[in-house]
């Protein structure tokens, strides 16, 4: 894909985030979509492309009253929205549509109008993982951690520091769910969930949503908000079964998506001013820093524990507080994208002064999929 040909011209989250017991899942989609359309100064009838995940595009298009000429229902977990951005940018460049709406919402906490997720007993997961007591992401996502720690010499304290640093960012964000400061000791003394991970190393469970509007860079100049350009993109998938990852020392999907985006953007790691790495659990930023090529995996734990990603550090990471402290409705990728866009617009609650390039890296499933988007506010 060519650089800076497509831009985000509308971005918004649901009016409320957190616990929203008075709204169903599709209405959360609509609330986010209407907010993004207002942010872009558009009408619903201006939208000719739609992408969403979990809910089908036909569900959301019909509920909103949109007649699209381009549709993407890629649903690979929490990074689906990174893939939507990539696909939408390609579609707009190819002339398949002009103005794309991407929506996410999940009634993750209140569970209103939420489709049940189940694992059929005759699927491969149903045969070769479910019988051994996996039960939701906390019992699966951390399975690679002990191997990763042993191979790369990472300590429990270093992984705990991920949650501590992100709470520092969340403290600056009025919309963050959890804002009270925590220490490494607090993390390591919190309730055990799935050894080696404790409560404060697992993401929140909340309700909410977000939406983005993309159009060509040429048209973007005429919109009310400062355009945020798509500089580079990458995507990949590996396996829906965490037990069948090629290795637990890194993520193959990360190692394909991340470097693809960097090559496409034509930037080096030194150029990155702001970074989001989807943190459903505390080990993901370590995998991300290593697999995106910021540093060897051996250095990731120390890098975070030493404060390099905290406010004022040299690589601001997960500046909204992340899935650990900001919010996590189940498919967090949209919120990471929203924070990257806010940082590029210069309006984030914890704004990184002068930031020009933001890397936003997502995971889907348990390392099953990955998408990376690199944004810039300079064309």
């Amino acid at each position: 894909m060519r650089r800076n040909q497509v831009a985000v011209v509308g971005a918004a989250e649901t009016t409320k985030l957190g616990v929203i017991p008075d709204m169903s899942q599709i209405q959360l989609h609509a609330d986010a979509a209407l907010n993004a359309i207002a942010d872009a100064g558009l009408k619903l009838s201006d939208i000719d492309g739609i992408a969403t995940a979990v809910e089908t595009p036909q569900q959301i298009a019909h509920y909103l009253g949109i007649t699209p000429t381009w549709v993407d229902g890629t649903s690979v977990g929490g990074c689906s929205f990174m893939l939507h951005v990539r696909h939408a940018a390609a579609a707009i460049e190819a002339g398949l549509c002009k103005t794309v709406l991407i929506t996410h919402a999940e009634s993750g906490k209140s569970m209103i109008g939420k489709l049940p997720r189940s694992i059929p007993a005759d699927s491969l997961q149903g045969q070769f993982e479910a019988p051994f007591g996996v039960y939701g992401p906390p019992s699966m996502f951390p399975i690679p951690v002990l191997r990763y720690m042993k191979t790369h010499g990472i300590t429990h304290e270093q992984i705990a520091s991920v949650a501590v640093v992100q709470r520092e960012w969340a403290a600056k964000n009025p919309r963050a769910m959890m804002k009270d400061p925590i220490t490494v000791a607090d993390v390591l003394n919190s309730r055990m969930i799935a050894y080696p991970f404790r409560l404060l190393q697992c993401c929140l469970v909340t309700d909410g949503g977000g939406a983005l509007i993309l159009t060509s860079a040429d048209r973007a100049k005429d919109f009310p908000k400062k355009p945020v350009y798509i500089l580079g993109t990458g995507e990949s998938v590996e396996t829906p079964m965490v037990s069948q990852m090629e290795t637990f020392n890194s993520s193959r999907a990360f190692k394909v998506a991340g470097p693809t985006a960097f090559r496409e953007a034509g930037i080096t790691h030194k150029d990155v001013d702001h970074l989001m790495i989807y943190d459903a659990f505390a080990h993901l930023p370590l995998f991300g820093l290593g697999d995106l090529g910021f540093m060897p995996h051996e250095e990731t734990g120390k890098f975070i524990a030493d404060g390099n990603t905290r406010p004022g550090g040299k690589l601001p990471l997960n500046t909204n507080g992340g899935g650990l402290s900001y919010m996590h409705s189940g498919m967090y990728g949209m919120y990471a994208l929203q924070e990257s866009v806010r940082q590029m617009r210069g309006i984030a609650p914890a704004q990184v002064e002068g930031a020009k390039i933001s890397v936003c890296h997502g995971v889907g499933g348990m390392f099953a999929a990955s998408g990376t988007i690199i944004f810039t506010n300079e064309k």
Partner: protein, 137 residues
Amino acid sequence: MAEAQRARPKPTPETQHFWDGTQAGELRLQRCDACAHVYFPPRPFCPSCASRKVSAFPASGKATLYSYVINHRPAAPGFTPPYAIAVVELEEGPRMMTNIIDCPQTPEALELDMKLEVAFDKLDDKITLPLFRPAKG
């Protein structure tokens, strides 16, 4: 009683030989006749070279502990927490998810790379699960 609620695998035409194997006390893997790649989970072609000529064979049942969690909450139906959910590396190369039996479910007892051997746990007349225990000697 709780054990009765454990998730039961339902074999498909492509995986039936594996579950027939565990019933017979064998841990069956597949090997490609063309490129000799050994793989899991079962499928009737080689995921390395795409050959459809593959053969099932009984694995040694020897493995090492690759990684695990000790799950505290929420517990899956049929499990009493805390219990370890492990991934083991078979001597032949492939890895599989399992549980570790005859071993305290603690970080001290569950050492990465410890030697393990397969143990078959019969759930009912149709399904026997491959579990692993610390290797003797």
